[in-house]
Symmetry: C2
Subunit: 257 residues, 2 copies
DNA sequence: AGAGTGTACCGTACATTGTACGGCTCAGGT
DNA sequence: ACCTGAGCCGTACAATGTACGGTACACTCT
């Protein structure tokens, strides 16, 4: 990254911002909320890396440095953006729990919701999540997502592990999809056009090497999805497999109870 | 990112570099290989984002712009780095296949090997992988990893989906672990110190809100792992679950044969 | 041996980034 | 009417990737 030291965001400062109430408009109407909203709108289009403090300021018709009155820096701003988009994820604390289909239906619902945010705001993948772990919305999300797993006989650690597994899968798959989309946008080439462009170079250069399985499977996948991969298919295949894998664990625990 | 246009890497140029033979030392001993090795060594320590062309040049005792004689730009350089670290992943094309334990043992072996590279070179997580998909080493890796799944009765698409699921899981978990480590390094704080620092702010600010499940489970996890998460545990829990989930699919297909 | 030529090498310049610093300007209290 | 403090912002700086144009060396051909 460029610029001055870009000092690591102060956790305590971030937390205060995250949990505090910010309803003091100032004399040009500038608010933490307005800044975060503007930043999210811009990031949705261009990504976090392309998002600059100058762009945010310009969109708000405000001097660049005015932002720093309300937000310590870009790092803390991304923390706020992150917490914000997870704010409306669930209608209430029991929405997944009230889903039909028991724990399995609940986890499917959770996966689908997370998938939706991730695809609506692909820049989330660029946010270092470790440090934001304690924002108010994130904490509520954790509570909401854990509840359907409570009382099934699982240990606390198992509950966390199961949830983490599902969320990691959704995130990884969504990330791959976002990357695919972004690559297409950046290059202006669709998957097919891209393939046509590199195809001659590839055949020239690949002559003499034989990868029979990779060749056959790669071709099948390409024909089936018209692409090198289909994120939606990967999501459901993986989710089904994971839930199938969790079933014996949960039924054995429930039986003991 | 800063700097000039930073034009998207030319796929064809990357491919030529990836597949071509580069054994022309030039008059100051500068080689594509040497550049890539230096870049990898630096990235291992500081990450991709902190890696700069100036740093690479300095390490090689060479002017910055000399690098551009051998490598079109930073984007293509990262492509080369990516392909390079996957070069020695497997001893031969049948190493996973020859593992004991059938397809399950093979997938466990594959997961472990991928985990090792990912933790040895955490910057891999920052590489946009879509465009590199066709490097020689990556293609061989795909072949090697698919073979243990061949002949089990799975369709080509199912073979690819199963492998992708395992690799996505390993990558996601490794990424979380890398992020955790990096956050610690950057802040100079261990998990415990970090917790002590934000704890007072948190209790002040969290008063009045009740998240019973999150609180109980979070505490249990923290006590069990001395941290908010344990990547190694997440890896094995998830892998076990996924393989358990794949078992019915594979046995049903094999039965039909 | 001498001349010519292409390629490896690199110094400088520039646009772009995050943000430190210090000044300006106003709202509100005394 | 004046003072004070907070919101606002112009300028400056360090760091980045790399375009551009120049320099110097290894080689080939005469």
């Amino acid at each position: 990254m460029a610029g001055r030291k870009a000092a690591a965001p102060d956790p305590a400062r971030s937390l205060a911002l995250l949990w505090g109430s910010h309803t003091k408009p100032g004399r040009s109407g500038l608010t933490v909320r307005a800044i975060v909203d503007a930043a999210i709108a811009l990031a949705d289009v261009s990504g976090l890396e392309a998002l600059s403090m100058r762009m945010v300021a310009e969109r708000l018709k405000v001097g660049t440095m005015s932002l720093y009155t309300h937000v310590p820096g870009k790092g803390e701003l991304t923390d706020l953006m992150f917490d914000q988009v997870y704010g409306d994820l669930y209608a209430d604390l029991d929405e997944p729990l009230n889903q039909p289909g028991g724990w399995r239906g609940a986890l499917e619902f959770i996966a689908r919701r997370n998938w939706e945010v991730l695809t609506a705001h692909p820049w989330i993948h660029e946010v270092p999540t470790m440090r934001t772990a304690l924002g108010p919305n994130i904490t509520r999300k954790y509570e909401t997502e854990l509840r359907p797993l409570d009382g099934l006989g699982l240990t606390d650690v198992e509950m966390d592990s199961a949830l983490t597994l599902v969320l990691t899968h959704v995130q990884g798959t969504a990330r791959a999809g976002a990357e695919q989309l972004r690559t297409q946008r950046d290059s202006g080439l669709s998957d097919e056009e891209w393939w046509r462009q590199i195809s001659p170079t590839l055949t020239t250069v690949m002559s003499g090497t034989h990868f029979p399985t990779a060749g056959r499977v790669g071709t099948s996948v390409g024909e089936h999805f018209q692409s090198a991969m289909d994120p939606a298919h990967a999501l459901t295949f993986g989710l089904t497999t994971i839930l199938d894998g969790l079933t014996p664990l949960i039924t054995s625990r429930s039986a003991v109870q």
